[in-house]
């Protein structure tokens, strides 16, 4: 009679349809908000992971260095663990690049006598090494190298980026924990109310010889149903948000083109809802005493 608990659960779901419907909606909203948070954190993460490819550290060299001395500096830099590659940029090449950049507004360079730009070395860091602390330590070390005049690497930008990343992740995790707890709480409250409403019925079950499993099963199934339904509704919600809002907006607002939608992750919502629903129901029933 494995189907009997399901019949009892179905009877309860239909009989208590309004309280169950409200719980499903509450869980759907909570899970949808959680999904949107995860989506935001995920996108921030994806965006910041692309930045190391563009990050570089510039070493400006003293004017008086010979070719051998520059070579020595380059070799020293290559031995540094965080360094991926080094590239020498002569002052003439730098001026040429500057002129290319200023194409159309070359007049700003009029009046310059000679080339004021220094020779420089561009350092690309390994992807994993692009962080404020590693960059700062490396900058301090390379600044000590004889012949190096100055080091520049966008220190403030790196610190700001790192702070944003940590901040968004922390808030995201906190939000996910709170929302998950709220989903469990909604299932807990619903099942607890239903459990109290059926207290006399449960007493009769016990007196007729029902096991704890027999008593618990319909409530766990009902909790699972509420959680799963909430999860499915939130999945539909997030797909709707994606296709209606982001997909359409990307046609008119280009920044939305960069938005990444992890569809696989969205399909986790129903099982997550199911799990949280079962957890809430199990906590609500607690220990059954005879």
């Amino acid at each position: 009679m494995a189907t009997y608990p399901f019949r009892l659960a179905l009877r309860s779901i239909l009989h208590e349809k309004w309280i169950n419907l409200l719980s499903v909606l509450a869980i759907a909203v909570s899970l949808l908000m959680t999904a949107l948070t995860v989506l935001s954190v995920y996108n921030v993460d994806v965006a910041t992971q692309k930045l190391p490819e563009r990050f570089s550290m510039m070493l400006y060299l003293k004017d008086t260095l010979s070719g051998g001395e520059v070579e020595n500096i380059m070799n020293t830099l290559k031995k540094e663990h965080p360094v991926e590659s080094v590239k020498y940029i002569s002052k003439d090449q730098a001026l040429k690049e500057l002129k290319t950049m200023l194409k159309g507004t070359e007049h700003v360079l009029e009046g310059l006598e000679g080339n004021p730009l220094p020779d420089s070395i561009e350092i690309k860091l390994k992807k994993k090494a692009v962080g404020p602390e590693t960059a700062q330590q490396l900058a301090a070390r390379v600044k000590e190298i004889k012949g190096v005049d100055d080091v520049e690497y966008g220190e403030k930008f790196l610190f700001a980026l790192s702070s944003i990343k940590i901040g968004v992740k922390t808030i995201g995790i906190l939000f996910i924990v709170i929302m998950s707890a709220s989903v469990i709480f909604v299932c807990y409250s619903t099942v607890k109310i239903l459990f109290y409403r059926k207290k006399e019925e449960i007493e009769t079950y016990k007196l007729l010889g029902a096991t704890k499993g027999f008593i618990r099963a319909p409530f766990i199934i009902e909790g699972a149903f509420i959680g799963l339904s909430g999860g499915i509704l939130s999945l539909l919600g997030i797909l709707l948000v994606y296709y209606i809002v982001i997909f359409r907006l990307s046609h008119t607002i280009p920044i939305f083109n960069a938005f990444v939608f992890p569809a696989d992750m969205s399909f986790l919502l129903p099982p997550v809802g199911l799990f949280l629903g079962i957890a809430g129901a199990a906590i609500a029933i607690g220990r059954i005493k005879y």
Binding site: H15, E203, Y205, K206, L207, G209, A210, T211, F214, Y290
Partner: protein, 220 residues
């Protein structure tokens, strides 16, 4: 079948049962009688472990039940059929489902449930009321539904608490006839009642309680 050895039960400062020692034999039909508050219901509750004794030991079917683990209580209760004073029928289920519940709890398959429920309804002459809901039945009919639920699982013992408390004399006689028939099949039956007419001239054993003491043991 059931043995009480120096059993006492107290509620706060009140003593519900004091130092009871008696046995009910297998296949016996016995009556527990006494005025209201004498401890009849408490005695039945101790047998199905709705209450636990404070002193003494109780054995059912050769097994001491005082120290049963919680997980073993359902096993004990499945050996017992109950006829509760307050019926304990579920008003949101029809008569069939109320009786079937006792079998579904035991994991009996649908086909057997149907056969056995209709058989037990036939025993109490309520075959035609299978689709009715309890609150549409008379007190006597509800009592018979409870008896049908108690016998459907073919228990070794039936405990009945004031089984004729809510019914007229004719229905009462009918219910007692049903109990006699069930007892004739070998089922042990214990009936708690304050109604002397039920056991008068039956030749059955009657245990009389008064303020928790077993004051006499006689033939009805």
């Amino acid at each position: 079948m059931i043995h009480f050895e120096n059993v006492s039960k107290h509620y706060d400062t009140q003593t519900a049962l004091r130092n009871l020692t008696f046995s009910i034999e297998k296949g016996e039909m016995a009556f527990i009688t006494g005025p209201s508050g004498s401890g009849k219901t408490t005695l039945l509750k101790l047998i199905y472990l709705s209450e636990k004794p404070d002193e003494g030991t109780i054995s059912v079917d050769g097994r001491e039940i005082n120290g049963l683990k919680e997980s073993e209580i359902p096993v004990l209760r499945r050996k017992i059929g109950f006829v509760f004073q307050d019926f304990r029928l579920l008003n949101n289920r029809n008569v069939f489902e109320n009786i079937a519940l006792a079998l579904r709890i035991r994991g009996i398959n649908n086909k057997d449930v149907k056969t056995r429920v209709f058989d037990s309804l036939k025993t109490v002459n309520l075959r035609h009321k299978a689709d009715y809901y309890p609150d549409t039945l008379s007190g006597g009919e509800q009592q018979r539904v409870v008896i049908a639920r108690a016998i459907v699982s073919e228990p070794t013992v039936i405990l009945a608490d004031e089984p004729t408390g809510n019914v007229d004399p004719d229905t009462s006689a009918g219910i007692m006839r049903t109990f006699k028939n069930i007892n004739a099949t070998g089922t042990t039956i214990i009936i708690a009642t304050h109604n002397r007419k039920l056991f008068r001239d039956t030749g059955r054993r009657v245990l009389r309680l008064d303020t928790g003491n077993l004051v006499s043991e006689e033939q009805g």
